[in-house]
Amino acid sequence: MKLSALQQSYLNRRSNSFRGSAQLDSAADGSVKSPAAVFWLVLHGVCCLISLVLGFRFSRLVFFFIFSTSATNLYTAPFRGGTPEIAAHLDVRSTPVTGTAESVPANTTALMASSTSRVVVGRHGIRIRPWPHPDPVEVMKAHQILERVQREQRALFGVKNPRTVIAVTPTYARTFQKLHLTGVMHSLMLVPYDLVWIVVEAGGVTNETASIISKSGLRTIHVGFRQTMPNSWEGRHKLESRMRLHALGIVREQKMDGIVVFADDSNMHSMELFDEIQNVKWIGAVSVGILLHSTDSSTIIQREGEEEATQIPVQGPACNATNKLVGWHTFNSLRYAERSAVYIDDRAPVLPRKLEWSGFVLNSRLVWKDADDKPEWIKDLDELDRAGEEVESPLSLLKTTSVVEPLGNCGRQVLLWWLRVEARSDSKFPAQWIIDPPLDITVPSKRTPWPDAPPELPSNEKVSVGSQTQDQQINKHSTKTKTPRTRRSRTKRRHDIKVIGVQASTLSVSEQRN
């Protein structure tokens, strides 16, 4: 590598200083040191020290600035460095320090040849703005641009003429209702098409359900059904079927146009389901994943060999090689036959029916009283109601099942999952899940993790429910949310609560007994 003049001079000076120090060494008894040698030695030492501290670049930079010739190109574009000094020097230094002699004439020839060009060959600075971080206004604008682009994409490549989705959900007020219904509600809120949500509630319309679905912002139709939900799964399935038929009756009455989806409240739906069902013409079937509540392995009868491997927990259409519907996959319930749940709160697997309602989607025109293009294989809805027997699945509406369209890549895609999980029948929960003191006296439930009865408290306090160990944490949390004004009084009370809480169960139960 060719050395520049200044580097040459630097090296010479270094060697000078070494020679100087050699002289010093030889004349150890204090002979006259040449001042130049001393000066260079000192300077060299200082620079070494600075190099150690700040890095090689700084010392090179200092030397360059001291000894720079006129034949350097300093690009005077505005530079800013980052906070570390080294980086600043990295940016500010814009000259070819490894400046080979040939680059200088090259630069000048470049300048001569490209007299009208503003592009110059050579080292440039790295331009960094003073605050190289995202600007929130820009980020928002960028997101709006992305949203617009995606909207355009959906308009171009998505479903043309999307139809309204009519979701039918049978439900009833119980502990797990909030969990299940919130899940369905969030899924429906994400659906990018128009949606009508028909919620049929067993036992009549209640504020519980109304309060949950009112937050959705969707168009909802909340109707009550005269009967209360029975305690057995058998009864529940039957009642749910009747509730769904009731909802279909509403669709018929109001002549709603769209695609009917049976969104059971404890099921989980994927977004692709709603995109896929837009393809249905009259009646379609999708594959439903069957999720059984986990149980002890002792309840599952272990069969030898092949049963294990073929057990795919899916219900749905079965197709042959040419993608034509030839049959149905159903869930093999035999393994669980001995120990399946009978009552809603049994700790045993809940088995699905042969074919669940949720696996079918209908064009709402099928249930209309008089639609011109209704196909002839559809039975009238009124006939089914009058028949009185249980309608197990929408297939009962059809005279022939071969007209069902298999959706989701002919059933190969599982688009929703069926699950049934409920609490004990005697489990209680606060109305609308708001703890409004004073609590009624509750019957202690052996399985709930919190103490059987709340500790005795002054009336304007928030009741702290939680196990003894969690008391402090919850109290801390509640104190944080209150105004500081009351904090002092609160902490005093907290100690009281702690003391009481330890003996909560025995004390308050005894009080209640009195």
Binding site: L90, A106, R118, I126, P132, A142, L146
Partner: protein, 416 residues
């Protein structure tokens, strides 16, 4: 006199203004047709408009070089090889040199590769010179015009300057023997020594099979705002930064590495092509040379190219209105890149995407095998056809010599 000049100039401007009409609804996306004042230039068919004669050079200039290293077929300079193959079987080829408009010399100057795959240009001037000496001694057509109706493919970094370092390339300048010929090259920068007037700029080669193998469904929403994968600092050759890409890539990194809108890194993900299809903007900054294969990839994948290279001349600039399609950012404006990109109105962005979705646009950037109508091969031929008919002045009187055969560095004069 001035008035007429002004009027003529004004008329020329008006005639050259490209008009874009939103016309056809493509099978998937409404696209806009790019049309020049003379009609759809990209869709012109060169067959019948020109005739090309391909010199038969001994295989040491082409086949043997390729046999030594098959990697030449896959790197971004492979256009020279595929152009040769295309011309051999194209209807524009003529076996009668008397009726030819253009003469093509198939010499693969960019096929001497390092173990890493980068071409070494050191022997290229000698190779080219040797080839020209051959054709000038065996056929009379070179001497007739001293190469003015010949064209050569020089797809290397700085074209016919035959060097990868810009300073050295500028020093060498274009090979003296090619001073009168038409050069078809990937390099293009205004007011640069290595871009001759009348050169045809082509896109770098990108393997079409690889591109088509990585297409994703068109309805996948574009959720990345700005995308870039590549080096910001070339640590091997320019450790401190400032030389590589004139500091522009480093500036992009330093300014936007913390910005969640900018998906930029030096990774080599396997999903590179898929990610480009999920991005709205793709950065195409300069590297050691201003051109980049990212432009081709961005156009094919429908990602709006953001070109950060001052004074760059883009491929087929006379046929493709790059201003309408891409976003040009000056190197000094890189710190404001996010402001620039977010201040583009959404309608303009959608229009650029519609223009990019035009299949003729995508086809014009690729070199498919076998050749298809409207692809880059045909655009080159269109460009050559547009330069016809040759001016009478290129034909030299017999014995007249314009080029200096002994000019240039001494090393170039050695035989190859």
């Amino acid at each position: 006199m001035d008035f007429w000049k002004l009027g003529f100039f004004g008329f020329l401007c008006a005639a050259l203004v490209l008009t874009i009409g939103a016309v056809e609804l493509g099978r998937n996306q409404p696209t806009e047709r790019i049309s020049g004042s003379a009609g759809d230039v990209l869709e012109d068919n060169p067959v019948g408009r020109l005739k090309v004669f391909v010199y038969e050079l001994p295989s040491k200039y082409n086949k043997k070089i390729l046999q030594k290293d098959q990697r030449c077929l896959n790197h971004m300079f492979a256009a020279e090889i595929f152009m040769h193959r295309f011309l051999l079987s194209s209807p524009v080829r003529t076996l009668n040199p008397e009726e030819a408009d253009w003469f093509y010399t198939p010499v693969y100057t960019t096929c001497d590769l390092t173990p890493n795959g980068l071409p070494l240009p050191f022997k290229s001037p000698r190779m080219m010179r040797s080839a020209i000496q051959l054709i000038s001694s065996n056929w009379p057509y070179w001497n007739r015009t001293e190469g003015a109706d010949h064209f050569f493919l020089t797809p290397h970094d700085f074209g016919a300057c035959f060097h990868y370092q810009e300073e050295k390339a500028i020093e060498r300048g274009i090979l003296t023997l090619l001073q009168r010929a038409t050069l078809v090259q990937t390099f293009g920068q205004r007011n640069h020594v290595c871009l001759k007037d009348g050169s045809i700029t082509i896109p770098p080669y990108a393997p079409p099979q690889k591109i088509y193998a990585h297409l994703i469904p068109e309805n996948t929403p574009r959720s990345i705002f700005v995308y870039f994968r590549g080096l910001f600092y070339d640590v091997g050759n320019d450790p401190e930064g400032g030389y590589y890409a004139r500091g522009a890539r480093a500036a992009v990194w330093e300014n936007f590495k913390n910005n969640p809108l900018f998906d930029i890194s030096t990774d080599h993900p396997t999903t590179y092509y898929e990610d480009m299809q999920r991005a709205v903007f793709c950065l195409c900054p300069l590297g050691w040379a201003p051109w980049s294969p990212r432009l081709v990839e961005a156009v094919v994948f429908g990602c709006i190219p953001v070109i950060i290279a001052d004074d760059i001349v883009l491929p087929f600039a006379d046929a493709i209105p790059w201003e309408e399609i891409g976003v040009f950012v000056d190197e000094e404006d890189v710190p404001k890149l996010d402001t620039i990109l977010t201040s583009i109105p959404p309608e303009v962005i959608l229009r650029k995407q519609r223009l990019l979705a035009n299949p003729t646009m995508k086809q014009a950037m690729l070199f498919p095998q076998p050749a298809q109508p409207g692809d880059a091969f045909h655009q080159v031929l269109n460009g050559l056809a547009r330069k016809l008919p040759h001016d009478r002045s290129i034909y030299l009187k017999p014995g007249e010599k314009v080029l200096n055969w002994t000019a240039g560095p001494v090393g170039d004069l050695k035989p190859w």
